[in-house]
Amino acid sequence: MTQQTTGQTPGQAPGQATGQAAPRVARGAGGPRATRAPRVRAHGERFALLGAWALVLAVFCVLRPDTYATAGNLQSVLGSQAVLLIVSLGVLLPLTTGEFDLSVASTLSLSAMVTAVLNVQHGWGIGTAVLAGVGSALVVGLANAVGVVRFGIPSFIVTLGSGTFALGVVQWISGQSSVTGIDPALVSATVGSRFLGVPLQFYAALLAAVVLALVLEFTPLGRRLLFVGRSPKVAELSGFAVDRLRAGAFLGASLIAGLAGVVYAGALGGADPSSGQSFLLPAFAAAYLGATAIVPGRFNPIGTVVAVYFLSSGVVGLQMMGAQSFVQQLFYGGALVVAVGLSRYVRHRAAAAG
């Protein structure tokens, strides 16, 4: 077993590196719970992003009362971000353990494409095709885990490589074109049926977020993952199976990305070889932005949900105003930086006042 910790471990030469990026949200941090700030202030940061979201909603409801402030619009905003939300949950797991997974987008495409190809072109039943799709995603996760944990390669490069490779496989099995006409049962299970006017995929994504939040916050497993991310060294000295936890995080991320792929295949009624890539940066943005809310200083699923809908509410509002696509970019980029900056500011104020 090769250990990957800050310190030195057997089987590793001195000067041997794990070379890992530790994408912590909070290095020396504990969030406002940790500071002695009065509760109100502390809540300031927890709910700042929710507030910003409310503000965005309010502004557009005033500007476009007939179109934005409608149940239909709300339903469509909620319904349309399910896949992104699930992918964001995927990147969040390795981030929690201090690693990057840049392969999630390709993994999503792979899972969607395998499902579609097997179901549409090879006549597999949708159930087995979905299993195969998710299985193919897990293969990517396994490769990531082996590369990072066993060989000690930095996750940034392992997952960049495995993602590129997986994308090649997608292009290969798809013949570089879209595969459509997937089993309607999958369509119906994702976007075809609705509850309260919102497609089922939204509830699936929300459920995933809640489950993940509970796991991270209230189970020993979640605590272990957090410890591993904060300090692999300490975690190892505390007797955690650091390797297994980190491997598990990559497998978990791939599993989630695989499920996202299945949902995506349902939402599209098929699969295409390239569009999955467009989820990558937004997913990281949502995870990082989400780490400023609800449990500030930690990557957390509920914060991620808020981040996804904050950003998409703004973009949809701008679309309704007929803003050009560059305005959406300006909003997206600006909102990211301002929101995170603001939450730091609130924390500073809180700390200064405490």
Binding site: Q8, T9, P14, F218, P220, R223, F227, E236, S238, A352
Partner: protein
């Protein structure tokens, strides 16, 4: 006699070509506090890491716990189930998490329960803290605690983690962070613990007196081999020192004169006869309320006090590693307000600072010794635009020689050096620049007796060159040995000044303990560094 709680046999561990442990046999009895001594790099930490499954030992080693053989290597976390728990020297706390989260992590995690209630965990942690009368808020982040409080939290955590199968508590130099009161609390706790007759304690320390005072027997490692196991009651510090460094090695210094090295018979020159080189006026910070003192050319001034007294705060403030609220530092006549001090500006004024936590603050673990020790002299040995690799290498070699850094290879990775050698390298890094004012925090923390004498000699030499030195430490022995004068702080103020014949460990200890009780915890815990510029 009862079965020992732990027995290791023929334990070896090889790193590359280096044998860190070489056929070690060791037995720790129930109810026994067992000391483990040895030079820096003799294999103490390695032994502990084998017992905790961090390192896999070479084949052939044996381990028994409570008389039952346990196959090696241990799986990660297995030591827990065996009833072993450890306080590592760096404590292993996550500063950004709360005290409760840190304390309860093992239980919360080991539990077969699917769900952890952190509220309940907080309550349990609070109860433990209360039981041992440690006044710390379980919800506070560890980052907001002082060093002593952190050490106590780590130790209490380890005690709690022993669980029902309690076998062995390992303390890897637990007292280096602790002032006397913390040490007393710790050993009180240790005695209570072994009184149950089921638990043993393995105590790693470089403090011979402490070890003899609190253990029933002592094992000494030399170059990875077990040199001897002796009965504490039947031995002396001198005998131990001999076992540690070998018959030819230096003997633990007992006096300033000895520390100054051979032939230096001249005692310290009294402060009165020196022209003050450094003046500190009215230093203010959250925990300091107007501290002033002078340090003469060639003088070594000690600062000490209980946790929270402010003694450990002074140096980082003067250096600009933390922000002061007020105060003036004058070096050779040049005045500067302390709040505007920054490490870079301090260095330009000839002020250097050797931090206590060398692993965190002293050097970059993954870079070579050469690169670490030459950090402050990059432009001096080259130019603004060019490094002189050969000059840097030569300087590193000289320093390794002069400061006795082992191994003597400047290309060695800093992080692979044993703790004591890291400390020597860090001292070398700073003392080479010909400083006017040397700020030293716990300079011999974790350093073996031989190296300690060597370091004292080096400090002396720097003083002889005319530098003013301020040494903050809670090691009274050390203060008595190297300082010309010692200031005792309490509640953020200087409450006593000791010099001449008063400079012996017992007197210093008396003055520290009789200084008014430490600040209420509440205040002591407030984050020290909030005020930003």
């Amino acid at each position: 006699m009862t079965t020992p709680v732990l027995r290791v046999g023929a334990l070896s561990k090889t790193f590359g070509a280096h044998r860190a442990l070489d056929g070690v046999d060791l037995e720790i009895g129930a109810g026994q506090v067992h000391g483990l001594l040895g030079e820096n790099g003799s294999g103490k930490s390695t032994l502990i890491k084998v017992l905790t499954g961090v390192h896999a030992p070479d084949p052939g080693g044996r381990l028994e716990v409570h008389g039952r053989p346990v196959p090696l290597p241990l799986a990660p976390g297995e030591f827990r189930r065996l009833g072993i728990s450890v306080v590592h020297q760096d404590l292993g706390l996550l500063p950004e998490l709360s005290v409760a989260e840190n304390m309860r992590v093992a239980q919360a995690i080991a539990a077969r329960r699917a769900v952890v209630s952190w509220r309940a965990e907080r309550r349990l942690a609070g109860r433990t803290l209360q039981r041992y009368k440690v006044d710390v808020d379980p919800a506070a982040p560890v980052a907001s605690l002082g060093d002593t409080e952190r050490a106590l939290v780590a130790i209490l955590r380890a005690v709690e983690e022993l669980g029902d199968s309690r076998a062995l508590l390992i303390l890897d130099e637990p007292t280096v962070f602790l002032p006397r009161e913390g040490t007393d609390l710790l050993f009180g706790l240790v005695r209570e613990l072994v009184a149950d007759g089921r638990t043993g304690v393995l105590l790693v320390s470089h403090d011979l007196h402490e070890v003899l005072a609190h253990t029933s027997c002592v094992s000494v490692l030399r170059d990875g081999r077990l040199e001897a196991t002796v009965d504490s009651a039947a031995t002396t510090p001198e005998r131990l020192a001999e076992l540690i460094v070998g018959p030819a090695g230096a003997v633990a210094p007992r006096s300033r004169a000895a520390a100054a090295g051979s032939g230096d018979a001249a005692g310290p020159v009294g402060p009165a006869t020196r022209s003050p080189r450094v003046r500190v006026r009215d230093l203010h910070a959250p925990r300091l309320h107007g501290v002033s003192f002078d340090v003469g050319r060639g003088e070594v001034l000690g600062l000490t006090g209980l946790a929270g007294s402010g003694a450990e705060e002074v140096l980082p403030l003067l250096y600009g590693a933390r922000r002061a609220r007020g105060g003036v530092l004058e070096v050779d006549g040049g005045e500067q307000p302390v709040p505007s001090a920054r490490p870079a500006s301090s260095l330009r004024r000839g002020v250097v600072y050797v931090p206590a936590d060398r692993r965190q603050d002293g050097g970059v673990l993954e870079e070579s010794v050469e690169r670490n020790v030459t950090m402050p002299v990059l432009t001096e040995l080259g130019s603004r635009w060019r490094l002189r690799p050969r000059a840097l290498r030569r300087r590193a070699e000289e320093l390794a020689e002069r400061f006795d850094v082992r191994p003597r290879d400047p290309g060695a990775v800093f992080g692979t050096l044993s703790g004591g050698n890291q400390q020597k390298a860090v001292l070398a890094k700073w003392l080479q620049v010909g400083p006017r004012l040397v700020l030293l925090a716990e300079p011999t923390q974790g350093v073996d007796v031989g190296a300690r004498a060597h370091i004292f000699g080096l400090l002396r030499a720097v003083a002889e060159d005319g530098a003013a030195t301020v040494l903050a430490s809670s090691d009274y022995e050390q203060l008595a040995t190297v300082c010309d004068r010692v200031l005792v702080l309490a509640r953020g103020r200087v409450v006593a000044e000791l010099s001449g014949p008063e400079l012996d460990p017992a007197t210093i200890s008396d003055r520290v303990l009789s200084s008014t009780a430490p600040l209420p915890r509440q205040q002591a815990r407030t984050p020290q560094t909030q005020e930003s510029s």
